[in-house]
């Protein structure tokens, strides 16, 4: 039971991570294509505020405050009762509202499959592809050292 709950939380968190990284236009486009319901009551926000970003001294030591970042969040309730939350860097309120609805829909067994396959999966594929492109472009700038052989042997 506990394992199942942990898996569920991991799935929900993964969706939130995907939505936080995704572009607002892309979320809206896929939303319309999938025909996901967008009716929801706003319980909080969408509102923009600040989070203070923390780092660690030396990379792994004690925490310190680096600076702030804008974050926009929203909380919604579906007509069926599920409450969804969203948080993401930036100031896009439309994205915050849709992401909160997606979180609420995901918690509804009737909609989870659609949210996963029609929204999260294509967003994730696009994000992964972009990340992979950046990675191999970076890898092309890796230095291959070679040794110049000098002397007799």
């Amino acid at each position: 039971m506990r394992g199942q709950e942990a898996r569920k939380q991991a799935g929900r968190k993964a969706l939130m991570a995907t939505l936080a990284h995704a572009e607002a236009d892309e979320i809206a486009r896929l939303w319309n294509e999938a025909g996901l319901p967008s009716e929801a009551e706003l319980l909080r926000g969408p509102e923009t505020g600040l989070v203070t970003v923390r780092g660690r001294i030396g990379g792994g030591g004690a925490p310190f405050n680096v600076g702030e970042a804008t974050v926009t969040r929203a909380t919604v309730r579906l007509p069926s009762g599920q409450v969804g939350h969203s948080y993401a860097l930036g100031r896009d309120k439309g994205k915050a509202r849709l992401a909160a609805i997606a979180d609420a829909l995901w918690q509804d067994a009737a909609h989870r499959e659609a949210v996963e396959t029609k929204l999260a999966a294509p967003l994730r594929a696009a994000l992964d592809a972009a990340r992979e492109t950046r990675r191999v472009e970076t890898a092309a700038t890796k230095v291959d050292f070679f040794t110049m052989v000098r002397g007799e042997d």
Binding site: G49, T52, R56, G58, G59, G60, F64, V71, A140
Partner: protein, 371 residues
């Protein structure tokens, strides 16, 4: 008696209208869009985010345009904007070891795991102006090298096991990180608070101080253990969710400076460290920050404090360019009453001085006549 003087409203309104016109410039030239600035003046945007202490590319780009490219004015605008927003909390500390690396170099180890990855660097360019860029020439797409992903542990983690390099900076377990945006500066300050001040500090000021340590004012034998640039994930603990909520990622630059240290009464001979972490891609700033961090640890490591870069109160009190420009630039605001008062004082002192001179001269003449 002081009589309040009012005036200048019309002049000020017209000056701001003129500013808007000059900012826009020649109307036959297309107006800049924010996405052009974000994409093509990215390092300028990064500097505004870093010293404005607010990670938001679009806002930083807007500030750059509004300030007509004056970086310190743009930083000022961003700082002012921050104060209008509510705070949602402190993120969990970022894990730079899990960074999606876009550049990573070490000047101390050639063959470190993950290798030397140059990324989009100005290093090794010839610093010749490029007329093709002015002509708007098309740019090649980047080369790709499809290799297996490699982990890139921080160089400090690789070096640690020999025991010849000090550990990442620790604080007592119950230490709550200080926040200079909430509490006024107090000296002496803990290293975590210093690092927050340095991370938002003026790049030019920190660069000059870092340079001064290299030239012998608090020499501390630095090596770049590692510089890495890339995106790190942010997560925030919130009461409404049973897990840390992912916020997306930000680009940061981290510098691990490694400094040879011959030992003191307080610490054995070893490599000590200075640390730099800043928003965006800015290795000059991260390096300068790390040099200053190390220099400012002089007392902690039992070194003599002999130079400006080691003087915490001097460095931290003057590193903030918004405060600095505020105090310097306020001098141009009307000081009519102050100046009138000072003028009166100087007139009186001058009259007294001249009266003394005359007396002395008269006494001198009298003496000469007597001789």
């Amino acid at each position: 008696m002081y009589v309040a003087v009012k005036g200048g409203e019309a002049a000020i309104a017209n000056a701001h209208r003129l500013l808007a016109d000059r900012r826009r410039g020649d109307r036959s030239v297309p107006a800049l869009r924010l996405d052009q600035i974000v994409e093509q003046l990215a390092l300028g945007v990064d500097r505004v985010m870093s010293e404005g202490s607010l990670y938001d590319r679009e806002l930083a780009a807007l500030a750059v345009v509004q300030a007509r490219g004056d970086m310190i004015e743009a930083i000022f605008l961003v700082r002012a904007y921050r104060t209008t927003l509510p705070r949602f909390g402190y993120t969990n500390p970022v894990d730079t070891g899990a960074m999606q690396v876009e550049r990573r170099i070490s000047a101390t180890y050639k063959d470190l795991p993950g290798g030397q990855v140059l990324g989009p660097t100005f290093d090794y360019t010839h610093r010749l102006l490029d007329p093709e860029l002015a002509a708007g020439a098309e740019v090649e797409t980047p080369a790709q090298r499809p290799v297996e992903p490699e982990t890139m542990p921080r160089v400090s983690a690789i070096l640690a096991h020999e025991g010849l390099i000090e550990a990442d900076g620790e604080m007592p377990l119950d230490h709550v990180p200080g926040d200079i945006t909430r509490e006024p500066l107090q000296f002496p300050m803990a290293r975590d608070i210093r690092l927050q001040a340095l991370s938002r500090g003026d790049e030019g000021f920190l660069l000059a101080l870092g340079y001064s340590t290299q030239r012998g004012y608090a020499r501390n034998h630095p090596f770049v253990g590692e510089i890495r640039i890339g995106e790190v994930e942010l997560e925030l603990d919130v009461p409404e969710l049973p897990f840390a909520v992912p916020l997306g990622s930000i680009r940061v630059t981290e510098c691990q400076m490694v400094n040879q240290f011959k030992g003191s009464a307080k610490a054995p001979p070893q490599f000590t460290r200075g640390y730099g972490l800043v928003f965006g891609q800015s290795e000059r700033k991260a390096m300068a920050m790390a040099l200053c961090d190390r220099a400012l640890r002089a007392s902690e490591l039992g070194e003599d404090v002999v130079a400006a870069a080691q003087d915490e109160e001097f460095v931290i009190s003057h590193s903030d360019n918004v405060q600095a420009t505020g105090f310097v630039e306020h001098l141009k605001l009307p000081h009519y009453v102050d100046f009138q008062a000072e003028l009166g004082l100087v007139r009186r002192m001058r009259a007294e001085y001249e009266a003394r001179e005359n007396e002395d001269r008269a006494a001198e003449e009298k003496r000469e006549a007597a001789e």
